[in-house]
Structure formats: C-alpha cells, structure tokens
C-alpha cells in the first residue's frame, strides 16, 4: 500500500476525511479488496481501543489531593516566615554592629579608671580593683 493510501485509510478510520475525499475512498473500498481488509483491521483495532473502560483513581483521590495541598501550603507558609525573618535580621545586622561600635567608643571615651584594660572598658565592665574584691568578700562572708 502506498504511503498516501495508508494516510488516507487512517484518516478515514478516524473520521477525518472531507466529504469528497470520503466519497472517493468509499468508492475505492468497493473495488480494492486489500484496502478493504486493511481498513477493517484498523477499524477493529480502533473499536477495541475505544471499548476499554474509563480508568479511575482509587477511592478518596480528591481527599488525598486536598490533604497534600494543605500540607504544601503549610510548608510554604513556614518557609515564607523563615524568609521574612532572615531578611529582617540580615538588614538589622549592620545597624546592630554600628550601634555596638558606637557603644564601645562611648565606653572608651567615658573611661574613668586609667588602669583598666581597653577591652574591659570598651565592653563596659566595672573596673576590678582590690577594693571591689574586699567588698565582694564582705558581701559573701560577712564582715
């Protein structure tokens, strides 16, 4: 069978031939036994394929989808909150660092114990002197 014939045969079986083409094809079917047999075979195959029942998903398919959508939405919302917090703290970090540096500088400026280490002063720690040790001792063990 020529390629053109096989194309036409398939289109005929699918009901895609235009009126004139169909009339010409039907006329050929009456005279061409081989074409008629091939056509019958394609039609039988088509009928067999169409005859299979409509498959369905298992019971509760819609419920499973809704549960999945709810779960994904909850995960998405949690991820969104995480993203918002991450963005907020990333923006806050330079401001916090600048404030900390300003505090360090202020602590160093108002330093009133020249013997205290610069680090302790910058961190705003009380100067540790002998007097302080005595006062702590008194507090702990009594006069």
């Amino acid at each position: 069978m020529s390629r053109r014939d096989s194309d036409r045969l398939l289109r005929a079986a699918l009901g895609e031939l235009a009126h004139e083409e169909k009339a010409a094809f039907d006329a050929r079917l009456e005279t061409d036994v081989e074409l008629e047999a091939d056509f019958a075979r394609v039609r039988a195959l088509k009928a067999a394929l169409e005859d299979t029942s409509q498959p369905r998903f298992g019971e509760g398919f819609a419920t499973r989808i809704m549960a999945r959508i709810r779960r994904e939405r909850a995960e998405h919302e949690a991820a969104s909150l995480e993203t918002v917090l991450a963005r907020f703290f990333t923006r806050l970090a330079p401001v916090a660092a600048a404030l900390a540096l300003a505090l360090f500088a202020l602590n160093l400026l108002v330093l009133d114990a020249p013997d205290q280490s610069r680090w302790e002063a910058a961190l705003g720690l009380e100067p540790i002197m002998l007097e302080s040790a005595y006062s702590i001792g008194e507090g702990l063990y009594g006069g």
């Binding site: 699918l14 895609e16 075979r41 039988a44 067999a48 369905r56 398919f61």
Partner: protein
C-alpha cells in the same frame, strides 16, 4: 476536580498503569494545575490544559522509570476493570481480559507512540488537540499513530482483532 478526574485518570493510568505511581502523578497534575491557574490564559480548554500537564508528567515518570531501571510494572487494565465492576458477568470478564491484553500491548510501545494512541484513540482527542498537547505537528501525530497501530495490530492479532 471531580469533573476532570476521569480525564486525568484516563491519561495517567493508560500511560503508567494502575498503582501508587499513577496516583502520585494524578495528584501532581492537579497540584501543578492549582499552582499555575493564574497563568492559564484560556487559549485552550481546561480539559486540554490538564491533559497536557498529565501527559507531560506521565512521560517524565516513564523516563524516570527507565532511568532508574525499575522493574517493569505492567499496565494492568484488568485491575481498573475489577474496580469498576464489582460483580462481573461473562461479558465484563471478556472485556476485562481484552482490556488487559490491550494494556500489555500498549506497554510494549515506546512512550511517544503510546501517548498518541492514548490521546487519539482512547481519549478521543482530535488530531489537532493531540498535536497541541504533545507540542508536535499534526503530521508527526499521524505518522506516530500509524506506526503505533501497525505494532499494536501485530501484538493484538488474532485474540483482540480478528
């Protein structure tokens, strides 16, 4: 969802067979659709849009199956029949048997060929729609269909096709 469940099930189960994989792909189809609903422009029907998603996901699943060298899972259309028919009579059993044979024959086709048979012959989509869903020219749809039917005829003769 209820309205389009048979459409999606028809494509997915006929492409992948019954089972958890098909159920997952079916769920994924509706979820993708739900996510992309705002992008739906209405230049095709909802059914065609869903079918395209279902077919793409099914083809991906078949590729994954091949890649993973999973054990062959035969399409068991008899299962679908058993679900649909609680007390089958002789005619139903015959149909179920024939459907199972067709399922096994479809399983022997390449994914591309199976896709055109499922859409054009079993889901009764027009050639133009199949071309749109698969993103190939109509001529390609027809040539794939011709090759697929020739192979199916060999596989199904003489039991299903006299």
């Amino acid at each position: 969802m209820e309205r389009y469940e048979p459409t999606v099930a028809g494509v997915v189960i006929r492409m992948l067979g019954t089972g958890d994989e098909a159920d997952d792909v079916g769920q994924e189809t509706f979820i993708r659709f739900h996510r992309s609903l705002h992008r739906f422009r209405g230049d095709s029907t909802l059914g065609t849009y869903l079918t395209r998603i279902a077919m793409n996901l099914s083809l991906n699943a078949l590729k994954r199956r091949k890649r993973m060298r999973q054990r062959h899972v035969p399409l068991d259309h008899a299962d679908a029949e058993a679900i649909a028919t609680e007390t089958p009579d002789e005619g139903d059993l015959e149909r179920a048997e024939s459907a199972a044979r067709i399922g096994r024959a479809l399983d022997d086709l390449s994914p591309k060929h199976r896709a055109v048979v499922v859409l054009r012959m079993m889901e009764d989509r027009s050639t133009a729609e199949v071309s749109k869903i698969l993103g190939v020219p109509q001529g390609t749809v027809m040539s794939r269909l011709k090759r697929a039917l020739a192979k199916l005829a060999l596989l199904l003769e003489p039991e299903v096709i006299p």
